[in-house]
């Protein structure tokens, strides 16, 4: 996940709400550029981000997934 320090409480709430603690989910604290590489290298299967729904940020997110396809 991006910026784990900031998102700690949020992630804890999500894990509790979806009961993800029992699902052996692994969380990795990575920077945006590292996250893209981790997805590309199949070291991570999903990306957790907290961002405004704006064109700019959606484009940034799309960019990190486009890298996985190339």
């Amino acid at each position: 996940m991006i910026a784990a320090g900031i998102n700690q409480q949020l992630v804890a709430a999500i894990l509790k709400a979806y009961d993800l603690d029992r699902m052996k989910l692994t969380l990795k604290d990575l920077s945006p550029s590292e996250a893209s590489q981790a997805l590309q290298a199949k070291q991570a299967q999903a990306l957790l981000v907290v961002m405004p729904i704006s064109e700019k940020y959606l484009a940034m997110l799309g960019e990190s997934f486009r890298a996985t396809q190339s």
């Binding site: 979806y18 590292e34 981790a38 999903a46 961002m51 996985t68």
Partner: protein, 160 residues
Amino acid sequence: MTKLREASRTAVSAGAGAMFAAVAAGRLPRWLRVTVVFSLVVLACAAGLLGYRYISRPAVLTVATGSVDGDVTRLMSLVATRMAATNAPVQLRIIDKGTALDTANAFAAGETDLAVVRGDIGDLSAARSVVIMTYAVVLIAVPPGSSIESAEGLKAKTVA
């Protein structure tokens, strides 16, 4: 030193008093009375102008900002510049703290008057919202073609 200061203060007061008494009694030559009255009017105008400027000066508030991409600082700087250009009664001084966490901590420590922060970071128990800049959402995104379609699909997976 203190005695000298007291003596000079007394002398100035006595001089000013004697001048007022002389002007009031009409014992000074006409040209001198006109000069004294004109000087007093100029002094009163200057004092009034200074007082007006002091009262009408803008209140400057400090704003802590910080984000990974620096967008928040850039945006708030534009707002501050615009407020300064329009002589708004409230003006902003932006303090870039680098990250959202440091921003929240600086605000919680009372270092700034305002902060652009996420509501769930740091100790904001005494904070009040002034403006909601944007709504952020939590996204768990998966690459195209992924087999993960729900929260259950995250079982034994790694989330970056």
